[in-house]
Subunit: 333 residues, 4 copies
Amino acid sequence: MAMLFLSDNAASVHPALWRAMQAADAPDSPYDGDALSQRLDDAFGELFGRECAVLWGATGTAVNCLALATMVPPHGGVVCHREAHIEMDEGGAPGFYLHGAKLLLAEGEGAKLTPRAIAAVIDPIRNDVHQVQPHAVSITQASEYGRAYQPAEIAAIAAFCAERGLPLHVDGARFANAVAFLGCSPWEACKGAAALSFGMIKNGGMSAEALVLFDTGLADVARYRRKRAGHLQSKGRYLAAQLLAMLEDGVWLANARHANAAARELAGAAQDRLLHPVEANEVFLRLTAPEREALRHQGFSFYDWGDEAARLVTAWNSPHEHVGALARAIASL
Amino acid sequence: MAMLFLSDNAASVHPALWRAMQAADAPDSPYDGDALSQRLDDAFGELFGRECAVLWGATGTAVNCLALATMVPPHGGVVCHREAHIEMDEGGAPGFYLHGAKLLLAEGEGAKLTPRAIAAVIDPIRNDVHQVQPHAVSITQASEYGRAYQPAEIAAIAAFCAERGLPLHVDGARFANAVAFLGCSPWEACKGAAALSFGMIKNGGMSAEALVLFDTGLADVARYRRKRAGHLQSKGRYLAAQLLAMLEDGVWLANARHANAAARELAGAAQDRLLHPVEANEVFLRLTAPEREALRHQGFSFYDWGDEAARLVTAWNSPHEHVGALARAIASL
Amino acid sequence: MAMLFLSDNAASVHPALWRAMQAADAPDSPYDGDALSQRLDDAFGELFGRECAVLWGATGTAVNCLALATMVPPHGGVVCHREAHIEMDEGGAPGFYLHGAKLLLAEGEGAKLTPRAIAAVIDPIRNDVHQVQPHAVSITQASEYGRAYQPAEIAAIAAFCAERGLPLHVDGARFANAVAFLGCSPWEACKGAAALSFGMIKNGGMSAEALVLFDTGLADVARYRRKRAGHLQSKGRYLAAQLLAMLEDGVWLANARHANAAARELAGAAQDRLLHPVEANEVFLRLTAPEREALRHQGFSFYDWGDEAARLVTAWNSPHEHVGALARAIASL
Amino acid sequence: MAMLFLSDNAASVHPALWRAMQAADAPDSPYDGDALSQRLDDAFGELFGRECAVLWGATGTAVNCLALATMVPPHGGVVCHREAHIEMDEGGAPGFYLHGAKLLLAEGEGAKLTPRAIAAVIDPIRNDVHQVQPHAVSITQASEYGRAYQPAEIAAIAAFCAERGLPLHVDGARFANAVAFLGCSPWEACKGAAALSFGMIKNGGMSAEALVLFDTGLADVARYRRKRAGHLQSKGRYLAAQLLAMLEDGVWLANARHANAAARELAGAAQDRLLHPVEANEVFLRLTAPEREALRHQGFSFYDWGDEAARLVTAWNSPHEHVGALARAIASL
C-alpha cells in the first residue's frame, strides 16, 4: 500500500467542499456574478478583519502573477527570494503576466527575506533607465522551505516596503499552515500586504485559490487581467463554493493544523536530520540514498531533495497510521 | 419560477461528471501526470479516429489562445471573423497569449468564413515587414450565431488554408452542438484542423475544456505555454475526469442533441422571427421591447440582442416543460 | 533623369542639420545626458508656448508607440482610425509596445476622426471585463490622406477625450505640413494632446523624431520604455542636434511650406482628379494605368494607389522644375 | 582641459563615416531598400568569409535583443553571464523583445563563460514545464571586463552549444577590440555563432550597429521584428553608409587597434593595480578614493568602479598625449 508524502498538491478534496460544490449546482449568473462569488469579499473581510476584494483563480501561479501584474509595470521589477516559487517553479509565468518585468533575486536563510536582504538587492540599483527598478516585493508565507515569518518579521518587511514605496505581495500557497503554526490571526501573518495569494488547493481544495486584495484599488485591474488570462471561468460558483466552504467552520485552519501536526511528528522522529526547522507541513531531511531506498521499500513515497536529502510533505488528510509508521521507520534507520 | 434561456454557460453539471470527479478523488500524480489525464490522447483519438494530443484547460478563452499561441509568432496575425469570440468577447486574451499578434478580421454571413472571405483579407497584404502577415486561421464551429459549417465547407476552408500554409484552428465552444446538427462524425466537422478547442463546459461540464491537437507537433509548446499561463492545475485529474466522462457513452452528443432539439422547438414556434437559421442551441429572434417584456413577465429569462431582438440559448438540461412553455408563449405573441 | 514623388521619407537631409550634427561631434555625455538633449524641453516648450518634456527617437513608429505605451495598459485599447498608420503600416508595433493592447478602429472621411466617430466605437463597449476598454485616442495630423484637422476640430476631439477621461495622442508624422497649411500656431494644431509625435524625418531630418509630452508626467515612463526598446542611442547628441536645428530659424516650417506649395501646384493642375483635398504634401489622383505609364515614361516616379489612382508626395526639397514639369504633364494627359 | 576616459560610447564619429553619410545624401529607396543597405550582406560576407545576412540597427541593445528574439520563444531562456550587458544594463530590453523569456545566469571569471559554466546552469534544469528551458546562449566578445575569448575558447563553447542544440549569440559591442587583440580573423573570433551583434558605435560610428546573422534562416524573422520594434529607419542608407565605411580599408580594425594600444599603455603603467588582464580597450584599476581624486584634479575623467577601483576606457581617437599623461599620472601615484 502506498503511503504518500510526495506533495500536498494532489491530495483528495475535503468533504465539505464536495458538499458545497454540489449545493451550488443550480444555475446562477455566469462568471463571478453568482451569489457565492459575490459573498467572497465579505467572507474574507470578516476573516481578516478588514475590507478586501477577493477573486478566485485556478492555480497559485495564476493568482500570484495576477497579483503582481496589478503592481508592476512591464518595465519594472519584483524583489523575491532566489528560491521563490515564482522564480523557480512557475515556468516563467511572471515573465508572461508581467510582460517581461524582472525578478530581482534576494538571498535569505530558509527562503525567507528580510529588510536587509531586500535592501541589498535594491540599494545598488541606480535610479536610471539602464537598470530595472523595483516596483514590488513578494515573499512566501510559509516559505518554500516550510518556514514561517513571525508577525514581527512581516511587520518589519511591510514597514520597509512602505518606506520604499513598494507594495508587498504574499505568496500564501501554504498560508494556512503558517497561520496554524504561528497561532496568530490571519491578518497578523500578512499584515501590511497589498495582496495575498491565499492557497486552498494544497489544503483540501480542488481547483480554487483566493486572491485577496487588501489594497482594494487593485481589484479592477486584477479582474481585467484575470479575464485576459483566460481565468474567468464561466461557472465560477463552483470555485467560490470551495473558498466559502474552506472558511466556514474553520476548515482551512483545521486542515492546516492536521498537516502541521503530522509534519511535527515526522520531525520529532528525525531531529538530527532536519535541514530546516519544521514550521509548516514540509520536512526536509538528510537521508542517504540507501536510507531513502529503505523507506521506499516500506511503502513510503516522497521526493528526493538533491542527492543527500528528501522532502516529505504532509497533507490535510495524511492518515495518522501512515505518519506514525513513517516516523518510526525514520527513527529506526 | 425562473425559466432560464440566458446561456448554456451557467447550466448545472451533468451527473456523470459529478460521479467521475468523485471517483477521481484518491490521490494520483499531480498536474497532468495522473492516470486520467494520461488517457485523454487515446480517448479523443478514438473519438476522432486519428492520433491527437489533448490538454485540458479551464476556459474556452484559455484553450483558444493556447492553441493559437502554438501557431502564431508575436509578429504574426490570425484571420478570424469580425464577430468571432476571440475578437469580441475574450477581453483581449489573444493579444496577451500571442504577445501582441493581430487578429485580421474577415466578413461572412452568420459569423462564418469562407475561402473567399479569408482571401479577401489576406490577398491585399503585401509581403513586407510593414504589414502583419497571416500565420493561422480560426473559425468557430458552430459559429457565434449558432450556424454550423457543413463538412464540405470545412473541407474547402481546410484546403484553402493548406494551400496558403496557414494552420487552421477551430473554436468549438459549441462543437458538440454542431456535430449533433450535422449528423457527421466529429472529425468531419473539423477535418483538416490543426487544433480544436472542444468545448465541454457549455455542454454539461464544470471546469474543463479540451484542447485537441491534431497536429501533435504543437503539443510540446502548448504544454509549456499552459504552465506559463497558470493553467496547469495541480489536481488535473478532476478535469480529465470530466472530459472522459463526457466521451463515455456519448454524454457529449446526447447533451448537445437535447439542447439542439430544444432550440429547434423554439425556432419552430417563431419561423418568421428568426434572424439566423437555427443549427445549434442558439435562437436569435426579432422581438420588440414590449414582446420581450411580456415573455419576461411570464418567467422567461434571456438576453436582449440589440434593441429589436433577443437571444435564447438552450442547454443540455433545458426542461421540456420550460421549452414548450416558451415556444407557446412566443407563438402567442 | 528621375523625378521623385514617391515619398518624403527618403529625401535628403537639410544642410542646417548636417551642420548641426557636425557641430555636435565633440564628445559629450552619452545617451541623453548631453547638452543638446538637455535643451530639447526648453526649445520645444518655447515653440509650443507651454511646458513639455521631449524625447528623441529614431522612427515615427517608435515615438508613436512609446507615447501610447505611457497611456495604455496591456489590457486596454486605443481608438484610432481604420486607416491610421499605427493600424496599417507599423508592422504590429503597437501590439508589441503596448503588450497586446488593442486598436479600436473608427471610421471617418479622409482618415480623420470626430467625437461622433470615436463615440460610435466606444459607446457600445460594455463596461465589463469581456471587452477591451478604451484608454486613449490617437489621431494623425495631417491625416494619412493629407488632411489637416482645423483647430476647432482638434478642440472638439480634445474636449470629448477629456470628458471621457481618454488622453489624446497626435501622430504628427507630417505635423509640420499641417501647421503650414493651417497657418495657426503649433499648439493650436494639437491643442489638448497629451503627447505629440512630431515628425522631422519626412521633413528634412535624418534619423530623429521628437516625442513631445505635454503631459510631462508621462516622461518618466517614456524614458524607461525608450531604453527598454533599445531606442536610447548612446550618441544622442546627434539626434538632439537635428531637432534643434529644425526648430532654429523655423527650418521645420519653411520646409513644410515648400512641400505643401509643391503639392498645391500639382493639385491645381488636376482638380478634377483629386481623391482628397490637398492640405499637406500628399496628392491622391485618379489616374488610369495608361496615364500612370505615360507619366512614368516621362521620368516621374510615384506609387500606385490601388488600380485607378496614384499617390504623389512632395518633399521639403522637391525641385521647382520637377514639380512644374509634373503639373504640366498631368494637365496634358 | 578634460581628458576623457569615461567611455568609448560618446566618442566622435570617424571622418570616413561622415564622408560616407554625406555621399549617401541623394534620395534612394526608403528603409533598407537602398543600394547601400543591399550591399551589406556581401560586404560582411566578404569580411567573414561566409554567407551572412546583415541588418543595421540603432543600438547594441536593439541588435542584441533582435538577435535573441529570432532564437528564443517567449517561454524559453537564454544562458548568459551574470554580469552580461543584456542582464545588467539594457533596462530589461531582453524581457521586452523576448516577451518575458528568461535570462539564465551563469558564472565565470572576467564575465566569460565556458562550457562547464553553461552546463552548470542548464544541467540541473529538469525537462518539464515548471522550469524555463534554455533555448540559446549569449556571450560577449570582448567581455564586459574587457576580456577576449580565444578562438579555442569560442570553438569549445560553440561545440558545446551545437551538442545541446542551443544557437549561440555573440554580443560584440567591442568585437573589433577583441579581434584586434586576438590577431585572428573576424570569423575565428566568433566561429560557430548563429548571430553576432557587431558593434560599431563605440568604435567610431554614429548610430549604426550591425546584426550579422550567420544562420541566414533567422533573417526573415529579424526583419519583421526590427520593423515591429520601430527600428526600421526610413533613411536607412545613412546607417548602411556608416557600416560600409567601417569595413572599407579596415577602419574598424585600425580604430580598435588604436584604442587597444592606448589601453595597453595605461595597463603597462599600472601592472600591480589591474583587476583584469587588459585585452581590449577597458582598464579596471584598483585606485583609492584619494588617488582617483588626484587623477581627476589633473583633468582626467573616468568612472568609479565600486569604492576601490576605477574603469578607464580608451577610444578609437584617444589622443596619444592624453594617454601618455594618464599613464604617467598613474605611475606617479
